[in-house]
Symmetry: C2
């Protein structure tokens, strides 16, 4: 177990946040993640980090706030928490964020409106700004816990969850960093194929789904490798199995059905179906959790428009595990997905942010991925002449180089 | 167990920090204190707290820093951490600080110089300022953990430790707050007797101890009840069994031997003997941990002078348990104690801070209590005419009203 923790810490410090000598590392984790956080701290100092600044969250304190706190406190951010992020951005710090399951059982029985509203709003905006402006070298990962295992398997079998997570993270390879280099190369190759094809849009067909979206001509396809504006390479999501771009904010049309549950603000959304017209989501239906989606989309004008389309095929290790993780970081990498909310500015980094918005990139204070991929989903690329070219069929990547 | 946690939370929110409607409550706790912290948050919101702002510490992250971090990082405080305290002071917030054992086993094998140096120096100064200026309504308490029980009993018998802590905190009473009201009244009565006697000094005699110190004429004797400068009552230490005042910084003479181990900056000091001349500590001897004392005293010029004398007798509930808690909050309330470092400004609150220093109150960035009381220790009050009047004999309080 120690060896697995150390391999995980090494992977996220090197391939993930790519912590540099003298750099400050911020860690955001739950109180249940202490063992992994301590291994990360050890490894960060080993490679020369200047200071490791850990903030432990406690979901049960959030429950306490939601259940008993005053209304004004629900979206309150202490000034120090916002300042911490702003300074990290100004200093070009590294960040590792650690999540687990949805925590929905923690918030069971609470008013869903209050659950959906409770968040450090100003802090989230500051993080989004730091990420959008590519100020920090960040990596999001997940850490198995008993509660997460309970949610995934119906029993607190944390060893079984570790097995699945370790496979998805390639920690079962002798050299996980080398294995990730190879996989990131494969994903980069897919982005090159897509950029060369210069599709003007994507078309999705499947059970409950008949949907199209236009792409922004200047927007590139990207994969897991990121780079801060200071030139520091990092991999923002581990695992990552997707290629993605920013779609045009005015172009989504039709209905798209989610293929996996979505953890959102302490709840779980199931059976989600969204209908779009002229780029705007005009109808939200779900078997469960539609109110959470509504609260998230209604955050601002851009909340009901799309910010990301991402393609994942079933060669993904997450798909291989057969596990529904109920954690977006994993589940979005099991299947093709789409996000409402903010566009991804670095897919348009030849343009200023203003020009990127003028070109059709969406702008919002939220960015929420939902999974649409399945063996039944067909995704085509549509060329300037209107011809459709298969990209995903039966969950497999079928697009070849021109 | 839940009922005990709730009673503890109620006691510390009411009698301790005395949290007011709309007030912000800061909590500083270890990651092992989650159950108590959650109960405190629930209770704080129940009485109308505006926001509960919890910072979880992880002693193993401090170990990671001490073992592997750069030299400069040892005393570093992130700016946000200092700002958080400064704002709490400006806003008149409440604070609950939760400790456990010494953590010495966490730091085992590390360089003691680095262990002694590692602290958030600027944050500690900011807290000391907030406390000295009486800006916040604060309460320090402790929370049983397996590691603390291991340290106290040699086995992780956390139930046994809870029994002892609950007795010391009067949680075994039907109404702990009412029981504390009664005890605080008794302690206030002792301060009144001492003030009426107007002793000019104290004299300590016992095995290894022959020591005297002068009192400051303007300094009052005080007990557990505190009041912020905004007039908010609170009890800063729970448990509290002491009466205390600030001695004259130039007056300590002779040798005094510690009667209990002292937890200090992640280590434990045992068999401490200090010799003073003209108020200054001129010799530090200890069976263990003398370097920790030296590092703490050498923080500044006032570090080697005394800031507090406190009298405790064996009617103390901590004394009754017979447990050496290896936590100063408890052990200082089992036995008479003395502190080197900063004087206690509110014992001289009729004077400005400048006038208090001119009157003989010590000034330092540290304030460290060490225990000197035992059944063998005799403490006398010395009157202006040189007559000695017994205060403590065989561990009992024997001083009557004039």
């Amino acid at each position: 177990m120690n060896s697995r923790l150390e391999k995980y810490a090494q992977l996220v410090i090197s391939t993930g946040a790519n912590v540099q000598p003298g750099q400050t590392l911020l860690v955001e984790a739950d109180v249940e993640h202490t063992a992994l956080v301590r291994a990360i701290s050890d490894e960060a100092y080993r490679v020369g980090a200047g200071y490791v600044d850990v903030l432990y969250r406690d979901p049960f304190l959030r429950r306490s706030l939601i259940e008993r706190g005053p209304h004004d406190a629900l979206e309150f951010s202490p000034a120090w928490m916002t300042d911490r992020v702003a300074r990290a951005a100004a200093d070009g710090a590294a960040l590792i964020g650690i999540s687990s399951g949805s925590n929905q059982e923690v918030y069971a029985g609470l008013d869903l409106g209050r659950v959906g509203r409770a968040r450090h709003a100003a802090v989230e905006r500051e993080w989004l700004k730091a990420v959008t402006n590519r100020e920090i070298s960040w990596a999001l990962i997940a850490c198995p816990t008993e509660r997460w295992a309970q949610e995934v398997f119906g029993e607190p079998d944390v060893d079984r969850l570790w097995e699945a997570v370790a496979h998805a993270l390639r920690l079962d390879e002798d050299d996980p960093s080398a294995a990730w280099e190879q996989r990131l190369n494969e994903l980069d190759q897919r982005t090159k194929i897509l950029d060369d094809r210069a599709f003007t849009g994507l078309r999705y067909r499947g059970p409950g789904t008949d949907f199209s979206v236009a792409l922004i001509p200047q927007a590139r396809w990207m994969a897991g490798r990121d780079r801060t504006r200071h030139g520091q390479a990092h991999v923002a999501n581990l695992p990552t199995e997707e290629v993605f771009t920013s779609p045009h904010k005015d172009s989504a049309e039709g209905t798209i059905r989610s293929s996996l549950p979505l953890s959102l603000r302490g709840g779980v959304v199931e059976g989600l179906e969204l209908t779009f017209a002229g780029g705007v989501c005009t109808d939200i239906r779900a078997d469960k959790g539609a109110d959470l989606v509504r609260a998230d989309m209604d955050i601002d004008e851009g909340g009901r428009r799309l910010g990301e389309v991402a393609l994942v095929d079933r060669s993904s290790r997450i798909g291989e595990t057969g596990v529904v993780f109920k954690n977006t970081l994993f589940d979005e990498n099991a299947a093709a997905h789409i996000a409402w909310g903010d566009g991804i500015s670095w897919t348009l980094d030849d343009l200023s942010v203003e020009d990127a918005h003028a070109a059709g990139m969406n702008e919002s204070d939220t960015h929420t991925d939902f999974m649409v991929g399945s063996p039944e989903l067909e995704v085509d690329g549509v060329g300037a002449d209107g011809t459709a070219v298969p990209i995903l069929r039966e969950g497999r990547w079928v697009l070849e180089t021109l």
